[in-house]
Symmetry: C2
Amino acid sequence: MQRHRVAVIGAGFGGLFAIKALRNANVDITLINGTAYHLFQPLLYQVATGVLSEGEIAPPIREVLRGQENVDVKLGWAESVDTDNKIISVAGPGINYTVEYDTLIVAAGASQSYFGNDHFADNAPGMKSIDDALELRAKIFGAFEIADLQEDDEAKERWLTFVVVGAGPTGVEMAGQIAELAHRNLPGQYKHIDPRRARIILIDAVGAVLNTFGDHLSTRALAQLHKMGVEVELNTKVVNVDRTGIEVESERGHQRIPSMTKVWAAGVSAPPLARKIAAATGAEVDRAGRIMVNPDLTVPGHPEIFVLGDMMNLNDPSTGRPLPGVAQVAIQGGKYAGQTIKGRLRRKPPGEPFKYFDKGSMATISRFSAVASIGSKIRLAGFFAWVMWLVVHVFYLVGFKNRFTTVLHWAVSFLGRGRSERVATEQQAFARKAMYEYGNPFERARLDDAPPADEISTTQVEPEKVSAKR
Amino acid sequence: MQRHRVAVIGAGFGGLFAIKALRNANVDITLINGTAYHLFQPLLYQVATGVLSEGEIAPPIREVLRGQENVDVKLGWAESVDTDNKIISVAGPGINYTVEYDTLIVAAGASQSYFGNDHFADNAPGMKSIDDALELRAKIFGAFEIADLQEDDEAKERWLTFVVVGAGPTGVEMAGQIAELAHRNLPGQYKHIDPRRARIILIDAVGAVLNTFGDHLSTRALAQLHKMGVEVELNTKVVNVDRTGIEVESERGHQRIPSMTKVWAAGVSAPPLARKIAAATGAEVDRAGRIMVNPDLTVPGHPEIFVLGDMMNLNDPSTGRPLPGVAQVAIQGGKYAGQTIKGRLRRKPPGEPFKYFDKGSMATISRFSAVASIGSKIRLAGFFAWVMWLVVHVFYLVGFKNRFTTVLHWAVSFLGRGRSERVATEQQAFARKAMYEYGNPFERARLDDAPPADEISTTQVEPEKVSAKR
């Protein structure tokens, strides 16, 4: 007899924890993911700022699931789901295939949202993928290199102004890291600029940083940011982003900030697959494209389809607000879905609805300083919060990567003062085009005259292109 | 009074050792390099096979030269040199500039050569830059993922056949690492393939592996490669490379090897700058485009221009053959040029001509096994040679990176059994196009419909592209 087939779309926290919960279940699991790695998103900002390598936060899925015999990992991109016949159409690398399921877990995450201003993305990359982080790494370190070459003071200043939009945890951590880089790591390495003069500006439309952490921690975080030299502009709305600057509006009126390096850390939206599944099943979606699910995380009328993490919208009865888009919601949802499936296989009656247990929120602001809230009462700021942040993150990495050397590797990188991961590749240099102020041979040779994508490997060896390697 | 100005083109071993030799000299040094990092080329193959991150073998130049006050590091690409007026024209990122010199050190390295068959590069990337290594990483790990998705046995086999062209140290190390990956690291992680069945084929036109190491070590290396399951095809010439295979000729006639993943590790050529400088100064170049230099490493008639490392051709009087293109020739040449410049500043008479001291050659074949030759007598193979290899490499990395945590980091990566650095980015996935056998939505969405280079950052956030992130 064929075993119950579970298909999982997405190898984020939700998908992996659902699969781990089904470790000993009598099921055949197929995991479909667009990359061969899981991404530990909370540490992306450390890849962008040269602390960690991409491999350190992106363990191969096959390593994470090593030893779990009931999973088949497939590289591919779930294009659509035939919810009547229970078939997923997948576009894989060079091969299309289908995956049939009895139960489907949809956990494909979210991407950056520009609230209808998608063209902002040209000049203000988000922070959602390894590619985003490596592009930002190239931009941030490149900005200091390029500033050092400018003759003109205004140009130097434009290159040394970094604007981070969005003062949630990602934006705060990013701004803090750039400040640390500019004010502590890089000084003394340039002949024509002083990195300490770099401006780091953090902008948010609301009136507080880390708004969801509550007044006390918000105030502490703001003080810490000021101490690090980050300029914080609250109640300030971004109205335009272009190559050389950003325009904002606040009660002080309209203002243009000349800046070559902008980072977007505000807002998320669900992938198109969410709308497709909603359309097929008659489910509703919210403004961010997330599927409104039942209290047991299933799609209304389709108990065999679970939606997890950033792709779902469910009101938390204890707060009356939708559950936040954080790792814990995905992790707990994954465990819940796995347990529910196991219960059904044993023909148990339906269990309790999903209940999110808020373990708290944390954000690091600098090395040795963080803020953390635990439950509704405990609020911590400073060194102790930072140690807690570290322990929690090491704990999860250990759980995922499960190898002593890897963790040691990470601990060494992270605790060291090093910014050893600063490489920008030629491929990432394509993304740097927006940084260049003028057309010139450097740019032309590398970018404009660049061959089509399918010939990229050629450029790396064509004699005419060779000197770019120097 | 203006100080003596030394310009250095290239931050490889030659350029950096010349600069370090001038540490206490009364000169102003300008270093021009196309990337912000030095590249420790001998370990590129470990980046390609997932052992090390790119940052671990590519320390920022500014970190390497930290504390040396007489150097100005500039990002840029030396386009041409006006040797009469002693001015270098540089195309930098978004800005063109010139650098004047009293003494010029040209040390811009070499790139892969396909011996007139540059189109081979489309399907057989070389191993000269970080981009090469990351592209190969994407291809190698991608091949196992894609093989696992194939229905057809022939296709599986084509994806599981890896061909390395060139049995010098780079080719031998690369073939050994792929074999170790396939036969030791990856087995047990796939449902539909057995990585142990992967074929690794090492091809060379001459009759021995590690030809320059002498008969004894060559035989030992061959035995070790066989033991690891590498098929070695000697006296075999590559006549064609295409997307799905490679064609070779040997005394057994013409043969086609179906293989999706080919690596080119045979032959180098100097960058176009070498020919430009030769044309301007009347110097001769050899077939590989290298400048024929005087015994003191200067260009004939231009005692103020030194050429180092892979860009120069100088006969070694002790062997009657040109000096080999190895790190030691560049390092010793750099030190020699630096000392010569210091001597001249003190108005000393010209010293001895450059004399290369052959410290020996080494190549690792697998973890815990290497071959090494020292001077003309000592030949080592096996574990002890491997320990020596490790010590020498750690020694150089320490010298360059000069930070305890970085070395520990590296040691942990290298000694661990881990293949933790396996990330292929979307940007690198462009290079993967050659791997795909059919046109399909996965490919189209990612590659064909991909926007022009200057919009790459946009794709990462456009809602329509979002599901690629899963």
